[in-house]
């Protein structure tokens, strides 16, 4: 599926439960891993055009290059797949050598320390190196977890390792030998410098390069293994937020409202001091209409009503000042009387903060009220996409029509013929061939993708009703045709009966439309089926896309039943 959501709009994703709306929303936010495809953020128009163009020619190496360029810039799912450069390989080999060196020499160094701490310079150099390695790995942690201040401290500690190392060596020596006499820290630190300044400078150099090397290596490794997840995703996260469907489940029952709302600020290190945090929390609370904030700030979720909880949920998403919000059925769990209030709050915030919403809902009437554009989804595919006016005013796809027809109307005189869809929603693991909506579509015709199994089922049930009494068994052959074995009637008579049935009843029993030809063959009858394909999502009018054979094909083709 393909969605482009423009900045500042309310985009509605409509569909039945279980059709993949929520998964789509979560994949956009990278809460679930998308199996394939790209999620591109904040892509300007011209890059979007390049991207679309390049995607039509996937085999061209130049377009692949262009695609990778766009993905590297904007995709949240992008993983760098570049070969290692010579410099990186060198660093890697050096790191392995250093680790081997440490593993071999550290025990003997420790023994040396035990006997006489300053007899040789190696213990101190080894210590400097280890401190550098440890600090380097600390320094490579993701930026949101470690503030700039921590990084400065790490850098200073690396430089200070030449000071720390002699003291540490001396401490270990004293601890191991059980020496408890007093000693001068200054003298202890100064003595290695006086005895062997060259070793100390070598130690300093090794510590700094170990720290830098470890840091660079680990950062590189993180980027390779996690893609953008580890490094950039956290900063992107901030700008994308989700409003959860269930306000009862999505708030931690052990946290107060204050903690729920201030947590994003603390986690992302946005506010610098408690004053700022308190102010942001209060502002967010009054923004979503929980006034006065003091009244709510120390309540637990269980002390709030459903509507208030959802407001807290919205406040917690808004406090990060996001640009894009995925609202996953934010009002479906709420009382009808509260829905309007929550929607009002959301829409008001949109105009005030210039938010973009992806609104996921199963309620078409709700989409009609709030959406700028609507996409109707069926079993993981978009079947119709367009502005609200286009989708609701002139629905093209039979599924959209059916959805619109069942929206209750407040005016009892205004009667619409309701289109009730037959059957159950198919199992998403076993998606129907051709158009995935055809088994339930009231307008399905020949090319919609009837499978042999469906046709055979229909014929069996017709036989059970006594319509095809002369036929034997119905079998699905491997070539995708239906074989009818001969029962009480002869093959020719059965062909006649089948043809008659097809011409009379094909509008009542839609699967029969899938039969292209009835042919007698070696004592049985072969029913071959129409060719079918999945309807592509085509632009019918500017900005209005529909995936249906009925729309792309001018009219249903006439009966083509031949004996």
């Amino acid at each position: 599926m393909d969605l482009d959501i423009r900045r500042g709009e309310v985009f509605c994703l409509v569909g039945e439960s279980g059709c993949g709306k929520t998964s789509t929303g979560k994949a956009i936010l990278k809460l679930v891993e998308a199996t394939d495809g790209d999620i591109l953020l904040e892509m300007p128009q011209e890059d979007a055009r390049t991207y679309d163009e390049a995607r039509t020619r996937p085999d061209d190496p130049r377009s692949r290059e262009a695609l990778d360029g766009v993905r590297r810039k904007y995709s949240v799912t992008w993983k760098e797949n570049l070969p290692w450069a010579a410099g990186q390989i060198l660093i890697f080999v050096l790191a392995i050598l250093a680790a081997t060196f440490l593993a071999i020499f550290v025990p003997s160094l420790a023994l040396g320390v035990l006997r006489d701490p300053f007899a040789s310079p190696w213990p101190i150099i080894g210590f400097c190196l280890s401190i550098g390695l440890i600090l380097g790995s600390v320094g490579s942690l993701p930026p949101t977890r470690i503030s700039r201040r921590t990084r400065v401290i790490v850098a200073l500690l690396t430089l200070g390792s030449v000071v720390i190392a002699p003291v540490a060596v001396l401490f270990i020596h004293r601890a191991l030998t059980g020496d408890t006499s007093r000693f001068e820290v200054g003298a202890a630190m100064a003595s290695p410098w006086a005895e062997d300044p060259a070793a100390m400078i070598l130690g300093l150099g090794l510590a700094v390069s170990a720290a830098g090397g470890a840091c660079a290596l680990l950062l590189d490794w993180r980027e390779r293994s996690e893609g953008l997840t580890g490094i950039r995703m956290r900063s992107i996260r901030r700008r994308l937020q989700l409003i959860f469907q269930d306000p009862y489940e999505s708030l931690n029952p052990k946290q107060s409202v204050y903690e729920i709302i201030s947590e994003p600020l603390a986690v992302n290190r946005i506010s610098r001091n408690p004053e700022e945090t308190s102010a942001s929390v209060r502002e967010a609370l009054s923004d979503v209409g929980l006034r006065p904030p003091e009244e709510f700030i120390f309540r637990f979720p269980h002390e709030l009503s459903g509507g208030q909880r959802q407001r807290v949920s919205i406040a917690a998403a808004l406090v990060l000042q996001p640009d894009f919000i995925v609202a996953d059925e934010p009002v479906s769990m709420l009382d009808v009387s509260i829905r309007t209030e929550i929607l009002d709050v959301m829409m008001e915030l949109r105009s005030r903060r210039d938010l973009t919403y992806l609104f996921i809902t199963h309620d078409l009437s709700l989409a009609w009220v709030i959406a700028d554009r609507i996409a109707v989804m069926y079993l993981g595919k978009i079947v119709e996409l367009g502005t609200t006016e286009q989708v609701i005013g002139h629905p093209m796809h039979p599924y959209t029509k059916a959805l619109i027809s069942v929206v209750p109307s407040p005016d009892p005189r205004h009667k619409v013929e309701r289109i009730i869809l037959k059957g159950e929603r198919p199992d998403p693991v076993d998606i129907p061939s051709g158009c995935r909506f055809h088994p339930r579509c009231p307008l399905a015709f020949e090319r919609c993708g009837w499978a042999a199994e469906e046709v055979a089922d229909q014929l069996r049930s017709l036989k059970a009703d006594g319509l095809l009494a002369g036929a034997g068994d119905f079998e699905v052959s491997e070539a995708g045709t239906v074989r009818v074995s001969v029962g009480s009637l002869s093959a020719d008579a059965l062909v006649m009966e089948l043809n008659a049935l097809l011409s009379e009843r094909r509008d009542a029993y839609l699967p029969l439309k899938g039969i292209a030809e009835v042919r007698a063959a070696n004592g049985a009858i072969e029913l071959s089926l129409h060719e079918s394909s999945e309807p592509p999502l085509l632009e019918i009018e500017p900005g209005n896309f529909v995936a249906c054979h009925l729309v792309t094909q001018p009219a249903p083709i006439g009966p083509s039943v031949t004996a």
Binding site: L29, L31, P142, T144, R145, R234, R237, R238, Q241, L242, F244, D246, E249, S250, L251, N252, P253, K254, Q255, S256, Y258, E259, S262, E263, P264, A266, V267, N268, P274, E275, T277, S278, V281, E294, E295, I297, F298, R299, F300, H302, E303, A316, A317, L320
Partner: protein
């Protein structure tokens, strides 16, 4: 719930203050529920009684735990100065029982704390990280569970010769964490699928943050109630170890008193109190912890019980 007044706070709120207010409100809430729960109160009264006894032992006990009663020989029958008689060294058994409260409580609480800390850490990591780490930890845990803990304790204690107080606490604590680990792990497995964990991810929290701020606080009531019950088990274990002469002679605990009484045929020489009183003390203290623990579990984890 809901009996606690909503707090209104103005001005600047530091994270510490926010946490303190939340914890305070929760404690107040739980305190009220404990107060209205008869089982919990019965258990609590027993526990308070023994705690007071332990803390005030120097004031209540007429003699030290290891000091002979003057002018009285060993193995004297109960008499006004020494209501339960004296033991084989002429020490006052009444005083010993009172001093024994200290050891039993101390060992019980600290060993349970050790077991809970280890079990919680293992359970949290195992449940939250999952994958092969979980598999390895849980198989190891199965091994620990399938070793008879009493035999293991006896072997460890015998290997180290006589155990001092710290040794006893460590031996009991280190052998008793596997059940806690399992309980915590199962709770973590269910908690990590909850929606608020997903929200934590959404706002950019690290795994450590989610584990410590979202999962641990929600598992804590269960851990706490479980720890109280572990205390009872630890007290029993301590008595068993002391009865089997595996702890230092200077640790006068109820188990040791019973062991000495048993070795000197207290019943046949007419000193039934020597055997029965410390026994009853163990029973009551353990009973108190069980009462309080189960009631607390009911209060803290209402949904778990009802299921």
């Amino acid at each position: 719930m809901g009996t606690v007044e909503v707090v209104k706070v103005g001005g600047v709120i530091s994270p510490f203050r926010a946490r303190a207010i939340v914890v305070g409100r929760r404690m107040q809430d739980i305190g009220l529920q404990v107060f209205h729960n008869k089982t919990a109160m019965a258990g609590l009264i027993i526990l308070i009684f023994f705690t007071v006894l332990a803390v005030a032992a120097p004031l209540i006990a007429p003699y030290g735990p290891l000091s002979a009663v003057p002018d009285v020989g060993p193995l004297t029958l109960p008499a006004p100065g020494h209501p339960f008689g004296t033991n084989q060294f002429g020490y006052d058994i009444y005083s010993q029982v009172i001093w024994g409260t200290q050891i039993s409580l101390l060992v019980g609480v600290l060993a349970a704390a050790v077991a809970s800390v280890i079990g919680t850490a293992v359970g949290l990591v195992s449940g939250f990280v999952g994958g092969w780490i979980d598999e390895v930890i849980m198989r190891f845990n199965d091994v620990v569970l399938s070793i008879p803990w009493l035999v293991l304790m006896i072997v460890i204690a015998a290997r180290l010769n006589y155990l001092d107080l710290v040794g006893i606490i460590l031996v009991i604590g280190l052998t008793g964490w596997s059940v806690t680990a399992r309980v915590v792990r199962s709770q973590v497995l269910s908690l990590k699928e909850r929606m608020f964990v997903e929200r934590g991810r959404m706002i950019g929290s690290s795994n450590t943050h989610i584990l410590l701020r979202h999962i641990f606080p929600n598992a804590f009531p269960l851990i706490f109630a479980n720890t109280i019950l572990t205390v009872a088990v630890s007290i029993l274990s301590e008595s068993v170890l002391a009865f089997l002469n595996l702890s230092v002679k200077s640790n006068v605990s109820w188990g040791r008193i019973i062991a000495e009484a048993y070795q000197h045929d207290a019943l046949t020489i007419g000193m039934a109190e020597w055997l029965i009183v410390p026994g009853l003390c163990i029973v009551f203290l353990v009973f108190g912890f069980y009462l309080f623990g189960y009631a607390l579990d009911e209060i803290l984890n209402p949904r778990l019980r009802r299921r």
